[in-house]
Symmetry: C2
Subunit: 315 residues, 2 copies
């Protein structure tokens, strides 16, 4: 696997090829990932989620500028679970981020949905690990926030920023519990629009009434910030609060370590489960008995429980 060594040596082409391998869920991953795990652990991982049109990409763009001023390197992973496209996706807001295309210390990649949510969630975590191993100082993960994808962003990020706009009242109502579970920081972007302060107050009330962020120490008071990304307003405050949250996590070392342990356990069970599934499907191709079993289930001749029982008892 000298591809991994090349990547660790700073080769961008090797990095890109590894991203593609992960994206395609190549069987090689099981051998590549352990090497990558050994190297990471230093990057700051920041998740940005929210409805489409909330201005996440513009915020990311502004954050990149700020981070680059501090001479730190940045990788961006933009996930769109609703898009079947990936890698070279031509999205309007991707183009804007191309303002950094000349900057070799900014690496931007987007990831669309291929197949199941489980696959996308896995690939997200793996690519973040890869960016971390490569040595980026900051990794920004941007995703259109719809249920499951938000949960996976939380699992991979140190700090999760939920970006809303003054018109998001209905979304906030809909996702209420989900939002509180994932947000470490709320941002009301496009704050020049009417109702921006109402939105801010709605969120502040939700934060004060709601339970503490799951998996996060109880003492962190989720801040509600206002930004106007196109003008660059409020970006510094957002960055400051992010760094403050990271500091908070490090200070509360025990709680942080507990969260990490839960994540690692979850990740292990996820990998194990997917590996079992793949292994099972691989065996189905070979063993006639399993193929017949799957067919019987598909045609409703055998119930899935009896069939699952049969498989488990065999192994």
């Amino acid at each position: 696997m000298d591809l991994v060594d090349q990547m660790l040596g700073g080769n961008i082409k090797a990095l890109t090829r590894l991203v593609t391998l992960i994206e395609n869920q190549s069987p090689q991953i099981m051998k590549i990932m352990p090497k990558i795990y050994k190297k990471g652990g230093k990057a700051l991982v920041i998740g940005m989620t929210g409805p489409p049109g909330a201005g996440k990409s513009t915020l990311v763009d502004q954050l990149i500028k700020l981070i680059r001023k501090e001479k730190k390197t940045v990788a961006v992973l933009a996930i769109d679970p609703s898009s079947p496209f990936s890698g070279g996706a031509v999205l309007g807001d991707r183009i804007r981020m191309q303002s950094h295309a000349q900057d070799l210390d900014v690496f931007i990649r987007s990831l669309g949905s291929r197949g199941s949510y489980g696959g996308l969630s896995r690939a997200t975590k793996e690519i973040v690990r890869l960016f971390d191993a490569f040595g980026f100082d900051v990794i920004l993960v941007e995703t259109v926030g719809v249920g499951q994808s938000e949960l996976s962003i939380m699992e991979v990020s140190d700090t999760t920023v939920v970006v809303l706009v003054p018109e998001s009242g209905d979304t906030v109502q809909t996702l209420k519990a989900g939002l509180l579970e994932i947000a470490n920081i709320f941002v009301v972007n496009k704050s020049d629009r009417p109702n921006a302060s109402q939105m801010k107050h709605q969120l502040m009330e939700m934060v004060s009434l709601g339970p503490a962020t799951l998996g996060s120490p109880t003492q962190w008071a989720i801040p509600v910030l206002q930004t106007q990304a196109v003008k660059g307003t409020g970006i510094e405050e957002l960055w400051d609060k992010t760094l403050e949250h990271i500091k908070f996590l490090k200070k509360n070392h025990e709680a942080f370590e507990h969260k990490k342990q839960q994540e690692r356990r979850g990740e292990f069970l996820e990998i194990l489960t997917l590996a079992y599934q793949k292994e099972f499907l691989r065996r189905v191709q070979k063993e006639t008995s399993l193929k017949t079993l799957l067919e019987e289930v598909e045609k409703g001749r055998k119930d899935p429980y009896t069939a699952a029982f049969q498989v488990i008892n065999k192994t």
Copy 2:
């Protein structure tokens, strides 16, 4: 397992106890479910999803009245993934449905989130199968629509109704692709409010531009209905369209059967995966080597891939 026989004989107490077993994910399920699978297949399963406050419970309440007029029996499963409560959950809108509490041919049960989404999704399917086996003519599954839970409602329902209100513009934007994936019928409830027709047109445009509902024959034109559930307006049309959709499915037998086969395959893999996971966790308790392995992963001393590899190679 005479509990299953009692239930099949029409014993409501046995039915209730079986629901509780499923809810608690009792290990007995693996033995109970095959018997239940043998009996079902006749009920009409209708899913209702949408944001909180859209009036789903009132719609369900009105539908029950209509279905009861036709002398059909009804079971309702109300799922709230954001609630940690279950079974006897005291929800405001549950109380309204108590108007049918005297009616022995209406069975209402609610289900909150316990643990993972995966568990809730599984329990939902199992309870629906149980209601089906008991012999209810119609099963209404109501859920607060947030990402993952919507997908599971689609997997279990013949017809999925997405309920929105005139103010749901932002939600529609956020969930766009997700909504088109699951909706067989759109309902704009509270249609006396301003912007009801705009909402209707926004949905109609989305339907006309969007891809055909996944897993459903391409020729079904998703209707967009208007209702005012509190007054009972539009309920008959909703029921008619639901029956029309069921007829459509039956007419397009091959496409329907294809969808069913995919669902059965998915369900089998889901059960198999959960069973593997449980089996693994069960073995962890016993085998010191596995316990040590899990601890090493949790503490970050061993990466999850290497550990998963180790487990797979052993089995």
